[in-house]
Each structure stands twice: as C-alpha cells, then as structure tokens.
Symmetry: C2
Subunit: 145 residues, 2 copies
DNA sequence: CTCCAAACGATAGCGATTCTCATCGCTGTG
DNA sequence: CACAGCGATGAGAATCGCTATCGTTTGGAG
C-alpha cells in the first residue's frame, strides 16, 4: 500500500491530467495536515513555503480532487469549506467542533461507523459518503466545573 | 407539552427580548415547514404572505434563535445555510442529500441516534448537538439499474 | 525543437451574509 | 393616555468566500 500523495498523483495521471505545479502543491500540503483545511489556509500555506499559486488554481485543484474522490469536503457550519484527504481505512474520521472557540478536532468511532452503514442500508439512496459533526464545548472553553 | 412556536416565542420573551414582528414571522414560517429552509426561502416565504421583513431581520432572528437553541443550522455543503426548528423528541431527524440534483430529504434512524449518543459519551466534549449528512444519488437521479 | 491544449495566475464578478445607520415602535412610567 | 428610552427593524453598503474570464505559461506528444 502506497502513501496518499502517491495514490493521489497517480490517480490524477491516470485521469489524463497533466502534472502541473499547483495541483501537486495542494496534494503535498494536504498530505502534511492532520485534519481539514480551508482553501485560504491551503493557499497561504503553499505561499508560505515559497510556492506561487493563485487562489483560483487551489479551488480548481480541490474541485478535481473531490471529483476523483481523493479529497473530501468538510462542512462545519461556519460558511467556509474545508478539505482533507479521503481515507478509506485507518485514517477515516469525523469532526468535533467547539461552538465557542471554533476549534475543530478529528475523532474516530468504529461502532458509529457500523451504525451509519446499517442506517444507510435501510434507506433508498445509493450512498457515496457520510458526514458527522458533533458540536459542543471543548475542554478549554468549558467553564471549569 | 406545548407546540414549538409557543415554546420559541416564550423563550424569546424569557430572554428579555421584545415582541417584534420579524422574529415572530420567522418562527411562524419555520414552524410550518417539514424540513430546513434557507434564509432566502424564509425571506421570500414571509413576503409572499404579505409580510414586510428585511433580509437583515431574518438573519438577525435566526441568529438569536440559534443562540437560544430553538433553531438548528443545517449545512449541506452548497454554500447556503439552512435552518429548522430544534426538535428534541418526535421530529428529530437528519438529512439525505442527492449529490446530483441537490434534493434534501429528512430521515430518522433510532439505532443511529443511540450510536451517536454512545459515541458522544466516549469523547471529552460536553456535547450540545450533532449533525449527520448522508450523500449519494436519489431515486430520481440513479441511473435505472 | 515545435506546437497546442491543458493548466495557471490575476482579477473581475457573483451571491450569501453581515454591518451601518436612520427610523420605528414596544413597554414601563407618570 | 402622552412620553421617553432603547431595543428592533429595513434599506442599502460593505464583506467575504467562491467562481468565471482571459491572456499567458508550459507539459509533453510528435
Ligand atoms: Mn464515517
Ligand atoms: Mn440525531
Ligand atoms: Zn478532519
Ligand atoms: Zn430537516
């Protein structure tokens, strides 16, 4: 099994796409993150390393990657779309959002995944994806009780 | 047990807020819907009935209602925020979104709710809310197989 | 090496949401 | 009931995330 950036770049090539700098920079940036990032963060992050990408190219790259199911869009409800690599196996996770400070943390729960699968089975949809966001107060924001 | 609009208007009064027309119109409109609606839809819906609300007032009312936990924000990933009454008991539901045509449908699943509760118990957050969005192709958009 | 379409970056445009501010109208007081 | 004070409201300006446009660059097949 190869690493996610390798798989991603390979899939892009297989889809007949050229190997441009912008797409590669987005893939590399996302591969180095532990959780989802906004397009702005990605843009800034790449520029911070000296990369010269336009915002439009970042959005275009994300579009393509989402289309190929290599990247997943995460919506936590603040009006800003975030993106992270699609992990089928070991890194698959969902998100905890602190309503107070806005912190986003990943979490995993095998039993929940099973329940989601079963729930999906009961519905008439051909399911592609599922998103779960849990909201509340994080350790830091909880009034010390 | 009283109806949702009554509870909502009561909570607003209890919070020391005056009884203005805009907030009431938003509560009434939402109470009549089966699922989430966007701010635009709410605005248009109220005006269609002859109401004279500004968009700003709709957004302000929604803000307040969300703050008081009377209304829940639903984010299905199309860049438009939707809102629906917070139902604890019988009307609580989550959403199915068709990636193709964008249709949004509510669904309920008791086993899933139990799994969510248990998952929440395992995490260090003080949970307030949870959102689940399932995505895929709906009956109409699925290539007839 | 040449050539062309894909990919790019800058920037204008767009739609959703928020901000500003002058006005309006609850609500408690006299 | 008249009035004052202040929260609520509506119109429109401003912001912001995202998309469309367009001229330029460049990967890579021949
Ligand atoms: Mn999952
Ligand atoms: Mn639920
Ligand atoms: Zn994540
Ligand atoms: Zn709904």
């Amino acid at each position: 099994m190869s690493t996610w950036p390798d798989t991603a770049l390979e899939s892009l090539r297989a889809a007949g796409l050229r190997r441009g700098g912008a797409r590669r920079a987005v893939v590399d940036y996302l591969a180095a993150q532990a959780c989802c990032r906004s397009a702005q963060e990605i843009h800034d992050g790449i520029r911070g390393r000296g990369g010269e990408v336009g915002v439009a190219s970042v959005y275009r790259a994300l579009d393509t990657l989402v289309e190929l199911d290599l990247v997943q869009r995460v919506d936590i409800g603040d009006g800003v779309a975030r993106f992270e690599p699609t992990h089928e196996g070991t890194h698959h996770h969902h998100h905890l959002v602190c309503d107070d400070c806005g912190k986003v943390e990943p979490f995993t729960d095998a039993a929940l995944e099973r329940a989601l699968e079963r729930a999906a089975g009961r519905l008439g949809y051909e399911l592609e994806q599922h998103d779960v966001v849990l909201r509340g107060a994080c350790d830091g924001c909880r009034p010390g009780d």
